[in-house]
């Protein structure tokens, strides 16, 4: 009896049942007179199957080529990193700080760790390099995946292969140098972009927006994504290319212009809030109303210079807030600084308004923006966690040295309400925003807390230090 015979004659009987498919009598050799031999055949067949080697598939999937030039994080940092990122009670601050560090230092997580920190990788794939992006995209259909290459230096030939955030930064720079060349780059790849990428790429047109962009923007009026259509229409309105600028009209309708002064008449501007807008919702209304208006449009319509506009709004906090928001949208930090000088609590007002993005500002610009809004507080820095959390979320960068100096000198961690003192959100956020040069000072403040409270932020500081000081080569 050989394996073929067993498969042909015995297996069908065992699978279908001997009551329906009796075993061939000539094959059965009972081991004892009391046995009918079927169980012996069961064991024989079972053992024959155990000796069969597993089948090799006809083909295996060919893994995509990933050209990842980033260096892998040092081995000694891997376990603390995993522990920190998978800690059940950790806030989102450490993850945000680590993702930034990976991006800034051009490091990547160890490929073997990707399954262990899956949630972190999915949320921050863009900042972690091509290998991590491939991991995050692995469930996507092949058509939606991209090439996994993240070159160190971008130019016109390879910019498409980089991560979206790096492409945006590159385009922004190109828009400043040569807006037409940057537009040509976007036009060449527009058809292949996803809706979110199209929207973010279009946002970059804010920099160096000119009439030469009009023809491209006009083609976007029929874009499939509503928010892309809306943004293109807004830009066209700014260029005066659309019939009427509804957003500007809505703003002007609410701005009351008057003259004041006895010896020298000065223009004063004031926003008249609609009757149904209460104090607590005023900031939000201002953000919504002024979001689509540019400074140029406003100064043009009111026939004042930018400086005069700010001076005219000096006694009207709502209008100052509107100007702060517009200056932020347009990355005009010089004007923002002038506005904040007259509206020292701009930070709190913008938070109330629900500002949720700083657009395409570069890291250094975001840091400068933060300095401008925080500096007026000096020693009276707010102890409201929501404000700081919002600031960290919106800037998504570590604090500048001067901001951190304010935080450390004010001993913010010891001033927060007693029930929040040393709580994970506070201490972890402070560690996440602290620049390298001030980590030691922060450590000294953290160790005054109970070890149970300081263990996570100290671990984060150690990992960030380690990432900066030590890189491994593959």
């Amino acid at each position: 009896m050989n394996l073929t015979t067993l498969h042909a004659k015995v297996l069908p009987s065992l699978l279908g049942g001997t009551s329906r498919h009796p075993m061939p009598g000539e094959m059965i050799h009972p081991s004892s007179p009391s046995s009918d031999g079927t169980l012996e055949m069961l064991s024989l067949m079972g053992q024959a199957l155990r000796f069969e080697r597993p089948l090799t598939p006809e083909s295996f999937i060919v893994e995509p080529e990933i050209r990842d030039e980033r260096k892998i994080i040092a081995d000694r940092l891997r376990r603390p990193l995993i522990r920190l990122l998978t800690s059940k009670n950790a806030t989102e601050h450490p993850a945000r700080a680590l993702a930034r560090a990976f991006d800034r230092l051009r490091l990547r997580p160890h490929p073997f760790d990707l399954p262990l920190i899956d949630a972190f990788v999915r949320s921050n794939a863009e900042k972690l390099g091509p290998t991590a992006q491939h991991w995050a995209d692995r469930q996507k259909p092949e058509a939606e995946t991209q090439s996994y290459f993240d070159p160190e230096l971008l130019d016109e030939s390879n910019w498409m292969q980089a991560t979206l955030s790096r492409r945006l930064a590159y385009l922004e720079e190109r828009r400043r140098d040569d807006a037409n060349a940057a537009r040509a780059l976007v036009e060449s790849t527009w058809a292949q972009e996803e809706a979110d990428a199209r929207f973010r790429l279009l946002q970059v047109f804010q920099t160096g927006l000119s009439m030469s962009d009009q023809s491209f923007l006009s083609t976007l009026e029929k874009d499939r994504a509503p928010r892309v259509r809306a943004l293109a229409a807004r830009f066209l309105a700014r260029l005066g290319a659309s019939s009427e600028n509804l957003a500007l009209a809505a703003c002007l309708e609410r701005i009351k212009q008057s003259q004041s002064g006895l010896l020298r008449k000065r223009t004063t501007l004031q926003i008249e809030l609609p009757a149904n807008v209460k104090d607590q919702t005023a900031s939000r209304w201002i953000l919504q109303t002024f979001a689509d208006v540019s400074l140029g449009e406003l100064t043009g319509a009111l026939k004042v210079t930018e400086k005069e506009l700010i001076d005219a709004a000096a006694k009207d906090d709502p209008l100052l807030l509107a100007l702060a928001l517009i200056a932020t949208n347009e990355h005009r930090l010089d004007l923002l600084e002038l506005v904040v000088a007259k509206l020292p609590n701009a930070w709190e007002r913008m938070f109330e308004g629900g500002l949720d993005t700083l657009g395409t500002m570069t890291e250094s610009v975001r840091q400068r923006w933060e300095e401008i809004v925080v500096h007026p507080y000096r020693k009276d820095v707010p102890t409201n966690y929501s404000l700081w959390d919002w600031l960290h979320r919106i800037t998504d960068t570590e604090a500048s040295s001067s901001v951190m100096l304010i935080v450390l000198h004010a001993k913010l961690l010891t001033k927060v309400p007693e029930h929040e003192r040393g709580s994970a959100p506070w201490v972890e956020m402070m560690a996440a925003i602290c620049p390298a040069s001030q980590r030691q000072e922060l450590r000294e403040q953290l160790i005054q807390f109970d070890q149970s409270q300081s263990v996570t932020p100290l671990a984060l500081l150690d990992i960030l230090d380690g990432m900066e000081n030590e890189r491994t080569h593959v």
Binding site: G17, L42, F51, P57, P111, P115
Partner: protein, 473 residues
């Protein structure tokens, strides 16, 4: 072994215990903290008037606490380990107090040679597990009582033999029924069918067979639907083989007979094993290459610590597995060892045709993490697989066995990963639970490593690659 955060984290029964331990890190909560002879101990002020006494052995992360917690280790033991690992808290050097000595004397197997000598010198005033090995205790016993006890034990054994035989008859009848109705039909209703016969085998005092049957549905459900009927033939065929072998132990080689009895459920106590002069003993350096933990239907967690022999010892087993059972309710998911630990110990193997299961007889050096690679033989997956087939021929109901390999690769076909040996074309399907964790290995060209093969799926445990080491976690 030095206590590390990784080890503490691995020992912790759950995240809540770690969080609770973290709150006990304040030195003010520890009126006493001391160290000596490889131990650290302290008193932790709990909610009661009397502080809890906690002791931890640094050699093997053994611990004891007087608190009533049902979690093991409790938050006090974890906190003590944490403070020790952190090194920011000072421990006063002191002589070991009596309550710590008492705990040491009750521990099994893992005590260091120094404490062992001390223990042997000490008069045996308190009952302990070690007393079972001391002949003088027997000398004091009443000979008649001893005779009565021996007779009772023999009577009990005979009764159990009879019960097992009756159980095997039931099993044969049940197997015949399944064969009559067919495996396709069996697979459709195996959960209930296996449960019923497993209960009858428990009654028949054949817990080994009962356990196999209890676990069978779960095992088959992890396989793809189309292969389940043929897998059922394999599994039920093995049951019949064990049943037949048990009936004919007198005709079988001694080791195979021992295998048959163990498979049916005759257990051997640790003490009996260590007293067995013919049991294989291997004194070597061992490396933990994986730790498996599985919850059983009997509310026990089976923790398997798989060891690879690092130092040379020709003709002796290359691998060993230490098996511990802990109540699921304690939350403990691992033994005292972590993957990568190296120990120096004499292992005593249970008698078997393919000796794998062992107990630590003497621990000469506690676990230490090392980055050294495993001393894998220079052979590919096909050679290892051939050895498995040879072992299967010797022990037909062979279960999980380690396979080492060199120059293999992980390949993907759909969601299924395979360990592939290009030279021979052999590919072993990897355990479905590893589809996610092991998938980064598919981007690496060549791996050397070791894993566990259960006849259906390969669980990769350890791999050395150009990107560094990968371990199953």
């Amino acid at each position: 072994m030095s206590l590390t955060f990784e080890r503490i984290e691995a020992l912790a029964p759950d995240q809540a215990s770690l969080a609770a331990a973290r709150k006990l890190l304040k030195p003010a909560m520890w009126p006493a903290l001391a160290e000596g002879e490889g131990l650290v101990w302290g008193e932790c002020q709990g909610s009661g008037a009397t502080p809890y006494r906690v002791v931890v052995s640094e050699a093997d992360a053994g611990y004891k606490c007087t608190c009533p917690s049902r979690k093991f280790p409790c938050k006090h033991a974890l906190a003590l380990m944490w403070m020790r690992a952190d090194r920011s808290t000072s421990f006063a050097a002191a002589t070991v107090p009596d309550w710590v000595k008492d705990w040491l004397s009750r521990r099994r197997g893992t005590s260091s040679s120094a404490s062992k000598a001390e223990e042997e010198a000490k008069p045996k005033t308190k009952p302990s597990i070690r007393l079972t090995e001391i002949p003088e205790a027997e000398a004091d016993a009443d000979p008649k009582a001893e005779q009565r006890a021996t007779a009772a034990r023999e009577r009990s054994r005979l009764e159990r033999e009879a019960a097992v035989m009756a159980g095997l008859e039931d099993l044969d009848t049940w197997l015949s029924d399944q064969v009559q109705h067919g495996m396709a039909n069996f697979v459709a209703q195996m959960a209930q069918a296996c449960r019923t016969i497993a209960q009858r085998l428990v009654d028949a005092k054949a817990p080994g067979l009962a356990g196999r049957l209890d676990a069978l549905p779960t095992r088959l459900f992890t396989l793809p639907g189309p292969v389940r009927p043929s897998a059922a033939i394999r599994e039920l065929g093995q049951l019949h083989l064990i049943s037949q072998a048990y009936r004919r132990t007198s005709e079988l080689p001694e080791l195979l007979a021992a295998d048959a009895r163990q498979a049916v459920g005759w257990s051997i106590t640790r003490e009996a094993l260590l007293n067995d002069s013919e049991a294989i003993r291997v004194d070597a350096q061992w490396r933990v290459f994986t730790v498996l933990s599985e919850a059983q239907p009997d509310r026990l967690r089976r923790v398997e610590t798989w060891l690879w022999r690092q130092s040379r010892a020709d003709g002796t087993p290359q691998c060993a597995v230490l098996i511990d059972f802990v109540p699921i309710s304690t939350g403990a998911a691992v033994g005292g060892y972590l993957v990568g630990d190296q120990i120096e110990a004499e292992l005593c193997f249970y008698r078997s045709t393919i000796p794998l299961r062992a107990q630590i007889n003497t621990l000469k050096r506690g676990a230490e993490q090392t980055s050294a690679p495993l001393t894998l033989p220079d052979e590919g997956l096909s050679t290892s697989y051939a050895k498995y087939e040879h072992a299967l021929a010797q022990l037909p109901w062979l279960g999980t066995i380690p396979l080492s390999f060199r120059a293999a690769s992980v390949r993907r076909n759909g969601e299924q990963l395979y360990l592939y040996d290009e030279e021979s074309g052999l590919s072993l399907p990897m355990h479905t639970s590893q589809a996610n964790h092991a998938s980064p290995l598919a981007t690496v060209d060549r791996i050397d490593g070791i894993g566990l093969w259960n006849g259906y799926e390969f669980t990769l445990a350890w791999a050395e690659t150009r990107l560094g080491r990968w371990t199953r976690s």
